[in-house]
Amino acid sequence: MLTTFRIRRFNPESESPQPYFEDYALVTERSDTVLDALIRIRETVDESLTLRCSCRGAICGSCGMRINGHATLACKTKVAALASSGETIHVEPMNNMPVIKDLVTDMAGFWEKIRHVQPWLQPTGPEPEGEYLASPDAMNHLTGVMGCIMCGACVSDCAALEVNPDFVGPAALAKAYRFVADPRDGSGSSRLTALNNPNGMWDCTRCMECIEVCPKGVGAMDRIMTLRAKGIEQGVPSTSGSRHTEAFAEIIERKGRLDEPMLAVRTFGLTNFKQMFSFLPMVLRAFVRGKLPKSGPLFRPIPGADRIRRLFRRAKERP
């Protein structure tokens, strides 16, 4: 099968270092992965095509790149699955990190953020003579997160990071979760307090991309949500993020629908004049266009709101 690969190239040493696309047509086999194809291009067509790769088995995390617009591992992506009827396969370096050359990105910032969450076990008390006792379930649960191979796919496609490059990001938060959920670790609450800061766990916008693109099923966003829940549970100081979450749930429970002005007030505080004033232009524009949402006592619960309340009660009763 003849497949065309449209690869984003970048050579920082060329006279005008600008990224550009180059097409390579290659005969591919059914069993070929995109990595096999890239290596063949490198070996038979253009030796200068630059990428990182090593294990070929989705375990080393070297070949993270964007294929057809989404970050993934080239070694885990089958050519035939993407180009069964001759479609062109687009290959680009990962996003949210600087490109060094062709498909190779600079991951220094990625590792900086991993280090930021102090990713090492911090037990309290004296070391036991033998092993720490821990339930098999707790350990099996952790193997899911330990499956993370630090390929960077989740960071590449994180929507929150695109807007705020200082956000600690899904990989580091999943790593933090691995320690918070480890029964042997004694620093859970101080870890949660640290993650409660700006650019921490409340900056995730829940777009699900990290879950979608993770080649190892780590489920970073789910871990972030658990971190938040644990933070609230353990009473780490409230932030706009945690107040937003709590207010959101309470308003829905009471009215069966969202009271947006109330949500803003509850999240930021009515006496937060600076924040409240900043909403004014938006409120005025909404008013002019007749789109100002109703709020407060004028905004009645929907019919059947009691059934929603029942749902909440049942959810809370569940262990």
Binding site: S48, P119, W120, L121, G130
Partner: protein
């Protein structure tokens, strides 16, 4: 102004052995840095799936049994003093890893659980699902971050440097990202750069396993030992050679031939599928050669283990079989064949990782250490047991790190001139300036890989190996002329691959010469023209010293036997 870095101890390689060594040297109270051609968590230690062996006495196990099975597994070529240390210290190291944060699988009572592995009667393999190597590697890297050890990532080491007295003084390397050449001075260098799998094609090994450390030690003056001992793993996927862990058979999976027979009954009636790897791999190949295979493979059948066991304990190979062979292990058996997996040989070291001779003197290069797959103590002799390689890296990585740290405390800083950097820069320029030809690095590498697989694989003979020797010499000639098409400084992976091939050709030469030298069959080295093990003449190691002009100098060293006299080896 020339860039030079200076540390007491420099570790080349950031897999398990390298990181463990770096941490141990750090604990000895000296300055340590790690230099590695890939980021530490990209290292090939990741690929170790099944587990790590230890005989824990509080579980009714005995270190002597573990040691004996390792010696028997080695076909009595393992040095028994080293094996005893490995088995005695295993438990302590496993617990140390657990305390650092490794999430080993647990029993119902919350204690560490075990599974069975090949060549051993007892379940003494501790594990994290079937990605034990990755779990260990990430935890050791966590500890390196915690200790704030400097790691020079994506630096490619080209050679060892020595001072005017022949004392090891560090390495020369270039930064892949910038092409900048620099000198790294050190009082002690620990080579922990892994194996050489890519010398063969296919191989289970990652693309980075190109024998750099073995070749650099060899060229630097250290002896290589038992290079002919190349392990074939019984369960690899055909084609690319990806590994399916021994954990599958450890959990009870069967090997079947095309007639559906558990053929291991004919070859190893007691241990069946869990005989040592050399025995199982040869049995498979005989089945295939005699027409009882299917499509060059036999079948690995996990179905009777049940979905729950497969999902929980074999999750990675379940995913791998699905992704790379399009087979659901819970529904169908997967075709597997023997594939090149591990080098038992390597740089000769003593039990502290030193490049020492039996009389306790430095041989080759004072101040040079090695640990992990790159090293040859010899622990694994003619055949390594599954789950002993991870153990090797942590036990002897730790010992090498500690010993190098103590050694560095007694030494002055080495005096090395800048000339070595200039020489390296010129060397690289000369390679980049070679005029274009039709030949490519990739073509030479493929030919080397095919030659080695054909002639130095499971079955060897004089004729095939002699032919291979000639072919490799021809490939060396071609390497001397081959052009590099990328002329850039930044991330020039074409250059890196050319230099790796240079190292691999050295490895191929020494493996072939070792194979031709050892005129017997022992462990993984099976010669169809010398079928028997010959303890009278060959209970000894083959050593090779590099000579810049002419073939290597050969030497021999008797195997150290402490308590287990060689016996007939049956499983």
């Amino acid at each position: 102004m020339m860039t030079a870095y200076e540390f007491d101890v420099l570790v080349m390689g950031a897999g398990l052995a390298g990181l463990r060594a770096a941490l141990a040297a750090h604990q000895a109270g000296v300055t340590v840095a790690v230099i590695t051609k890939v980021h530490p968590v990209r290292s090939h230690s990741n690929a170790a799936q099944g587990g790590i062996n230890a005989a824990l006495t509080d579980r009714g196990d005995k270190w002597e049994e573990h040691a004996f099975e390792t010696v028997k597994g080695s076909d009595y070529l393992g040095d028994q003093d080293a094996v005893e240390i490995l088995a005695q210290e295993a438990g302590r190291d496993i617990l140390a890893l657990e305390h650092m944060g490794v999430i080993f699988n647990r029993n119902e009572d919350g204690r560490l659980g075990t599974r069975r592995f090949g060549g051993q009667q007892r379940a003494r393999t501790f594990f994290v699902s079937d990605f034990t190597g990755q779990a260990l590697l990430h935890v050791l890297y966590e500890q390196v971050m915690k200790a704030r050890l400097p790691v020079f990532e994506e630096w490619f080491v080209t050679s060892l440097v020595k001072d005017e007295h022949g004392q090891c003084g560090g390495v020369v390397a270039f930064e892949i990202r910038s092409g900048r050449v620099a000198l790294f001075k050190a009082k002690a260098v620990i080579i922990a750069a892994g194996g050489l799998g890519r010398v063969f094609e296919p191989s289970t090994n990652a693309l980075i396993c190109t024998g750099d450390g073995i070749a650099i030690a060899y060229r630097g003056g250290a002896p290589l030992m038992d290079m002919e001992m190349v392990q074939y793993h019984p369960t690899t996927l055909r084609g690319k050679g990806l590994l399916l862990s021994e954990a599958a058979r450890g959990e009870g999976a069967y090997l079947l031939n095309a007639d559906g027979e558990r053929f291991m009954e004919q070859y190893a009636p007691n241990m069946m599928e869990l005989a040592s790897r050399d025995v199982v791999s040869r049995a498979e190949q005989i089945e295939i050669n005699e027409g009882r295979g299917s499509n060059g493979c036999v079948l690995l059948d996990c179905r009777h283990l049940g979905k729950a066991v497969i999902r929980e304990r074999l999750s990675q190979i379940l995913e791998e079989a699905k992704s790379f062979a399009n087979i659901d292990l819970t529904e169908e058996p997967v075709p597997v064949c023997p594939g090149m997996h591990y080098i038992m040989g390597g740089m000769k070291t003593d039990v502290e990782g030193r490049c020492w001779d039996p009389a306790g003197r430095w041989q080759g290069v004072p101040g040079l250490f090695a640990a992990g797959e790159v090293a040859c103590l010899s622990l694994h002799g003619g055949n390594r047991l599954g789950a002993n390689s991870l153990l090797d890296t942590v036990v002897f990585g730790r010992r090498a790190g500690r010993c190098a740290g103590e050694y560095a405390k007694t030494r002055p800083h080495p005096r090395i001139g800048d000339a070595v950097v200039k020489d390296e820069e010129h060397g690289i320029k000369r390679i980049l300036a070679r005029p274009g030809t039709d030949d490519t690095v990739a073509r030479i590498r493929h030919e080397m890989g095919r030659t080695m697989t054909e002639s130095l694989g499971l079955f060897r003979d004089q004729e095939g190996m002699t032919l291979a020797q000639r072919t490799i010499a021809g490939l060396r000639e071609r390497w001397n002329r081959v052009a590099i098409h990328d002329k850039g400084q930044v991330f020039n992976t074409s250059l890196v691959r050319a230099l790796e091939l240079d190292f691999m050709l050295d490895c191929a030469e020494t493996i072939t010469l070792g194979g031709l030298t050892r005129t017997e069959s022992r462990g993984a080295h099976f010669r169809t023209d010398c079928l028997d093990r010959d303890d009278e003449h060959w209970l000894k190691h083959v050593l090779m010293y590099h000579r810049p002009d002419g073939p290597p100098r050969l030497d021999f060293l008797p195997v150290r036997v402490t308590r287990w006299e060689p016996q007939v080896r049956v499983y």
